[in-house]
Amino acid sequence: MATVATAARPVEVGQRKVAAGLWEDAWYRLRRDRLTIGAAAVLVLFVLLSAGAPILAERVFDTTELSQDLLKTYQRPTLDPPKYLFGSDELGRSQVVRLFYGGQVSLFIGFVAALMNITIGVGLGLVAGYLRGPVDDVITWFVTTLNSVPILFLLVIFSALFAPSAFLLTVVIGVLFWTGVTNFVRGQTFALREREFITAARTVGATPGRIMTRHILPNVLPLIFVLMMIDVGTIILAESALSYLGLGVPPGTPSWGSMLTNAAAYIFKAPWLVVPPGAAIFLTVLCLYLIGDGLRDALDPRLKQG
């Protein structure tokens, strides 16, 4: 008898709950995806370093974001003192501290603007896909128009003419990058609205608003998270390009893009200044894309590549 029990055990250990929901199921798969978990860990680390920038600057690096040292310009990267871990710029400012502060700007704009994009994109996508007809035509017209303008041109002009604050810039990016989300949600809604469960909901008298939010939205929501991760990455890239052109957040606030403008100006004198800000942008965006990919595979394993 005892042997039977021990033989049955190993099977049970590896098994999970039978009727796990979508999210538990996804989480189960995600936990086993080392690459995605690693990417998430790096991203969380970046967020913490950026959020803790003032404390780190004071306690660890013994300097501040703005303190200059005109006798210590163009220091090569060194561990002694730690504030020149990534060297110093033309004003002798600590690059590592500026890097953490720059992260605040990039990450804030990335996540807040992406949240706005998703809200607008999902809303318009649902309405266009469900109501069709003239409403759909108008929304599609918006989408085609925005897709046909090189968005960076528009951002450059807007920034040059309006000289926006960081917050206004976030809002503008938030209302410009939603077309991809709308296209996706619209397509999904088109397909979903013909399914039986929607007809059933309509038969019992559910209003269009209720059908869209209660019956269609939950079906597209999982992949929205995937789109959001990719969206944040795209926005961070766009914002850094804009800052690199000198048109991002107002001067004075360090951002990864504007640190690169500086670095480009002293490229012959201090080439090492180019590496850290670019690597920070690259790693952040890379992690976001990897998390996006991992989430998609976890939520819908059928889509998994390779």
Partner: protein, 319 residues
């Protein structure tokens, strides 16, 4: 086919109207008064003169009226005179268009000629280290800020190794037709601009090829004794490439939009750089012409893409 192209052209009209409204709104709603900006510092100017200038430029009318005035002239190619150069804005931009087109077309060729083989090879060598390297490269190429790679390339190839020039179309004083010199100048910016597309294509084509080679007709081709090479390049690639035409859309947008930053990094005298300079000095006519020209470029390339798609896939009709 002619019917399709004609209807597709009609669909471009509302898009262009939308773009013109957007451009007009962004430039007109900007804070600051262009008349005051350009009379700033003028000594003997009175308030009446400013009002007269405003009437002269039609700035006293309502916004919809101003929009109609502007569009009527813009359709005829008249965007007004550049405030900086005192020359018509459109010809100024069109002079710089060839440089941008050169850069974008070389980048497009690089994207296709590197991206497609990478994708096919990754699919055929699925699961091996070659596949892994190509897939990692695809993710990196997507996530890396292009202007940063541009800077790193300048440090490596122009500053350290001194192999390639870091800026401009050609060496100053050289013969304009010195092709070798021009190629040297275009290699770095074109490759950097192409990077995202290379990554995208290889990723996309890997999925498509994997999809196609698992189909029955490929097994049939193998079974009737065709050589591997023929099966892949004649039977599989043809069908794998069809959906690629749609993938061209976002990539063209990247080429046109990305050219603005890349032209800045490599001091490439194209429309991106020119529009950027105009935006910085608030040269309104050039700004508006710049966005309209680059958007029209995009609308035309979407049009060509759709026509190409209709040619390779005859099932497509305008909805």
């Amino acid at each position: 086919m002619r019917n399709y192209i004609f209807r597709r052209l009609l669909y471009a009209i509302p898009t262009l109207i939308g773009i013109s409204i957007l451009v007009f709104a962004v430039t007109r709603l900007a804070p600051g008064d262009p008349v005051r900006l350009y009379t700033f510092g003028a000594l003997n100017i009175t308030e009446e003169d400013i009002q007269a200038l405003r009437v002269h430029y039609g700035l006293n009318k309502s916004l919809p009226e101003q929009y109609v005035d502007w569009v009527t002239l813009a359709i005829q190619g008249d965007f007004g005179k550049s405030l900086q150069y005192n020359r018509p804005a459109l010809p100024l931009l069109l002079e710089r268009l060839p440089a941008t087109l050169q850069l974008a077309s070389v980048a497009l060729v690089l994207q296709l000629s590197i991206g497609i083989p990478l994708g096919v090879v990754a699919a055929l060598r699925r699961g091996t280290w070659i596949d892994n390297v190509i897939r990692v490269f695809a993710v990196i190429g997507h996530a890396v800020p292009t202007f940063w790679i541009g800077l790193l390339f300048i440090i490596l190839f122009a500053v350290t190794l001194r192999w390639l020039p870091s800026q401009g179309l050609l060496t100053v004083g050289h013969d304009v037709w010195d092709i070798g010199d021009r190629i040297k100048h275009i290699v770095m910016p074109a490759f950097v601009l192409a990077l995202a597309g290379i990554a995208n294509y290889s990723r996309y084509l890997r999925t498509e090829t994997l999809d196609v080679i698992s189909q029955d007709y490929i097994r049939t081709a193998h079974a009737k004794g065709l050589r591997e090479r023929r099966v892949v390049y004649v039977h599989a690639l043809r069908n794998a490439l069809i959906p690629m035409v749609t993938a061209l859309g976002p990539l063209l947008a990247v080429l046109v939009g990305g050219s603005l930053v890349i032209e800045q990094v490599f001091t490439w005298p194209g429309i991106g750089q020119f529009t950027y300079a105009a935006a910085r000095s608030k040269d309104y006519p050039v700004i508006m012409a710049g966005v309209m020209v680059s958007s029209t470029l995009l609308v035309v390339s979407y049009l060509l893409r759709d026509v190409a798609y209709a040619i390779v896939d005859p099932r497509i009709k305008v909805k």
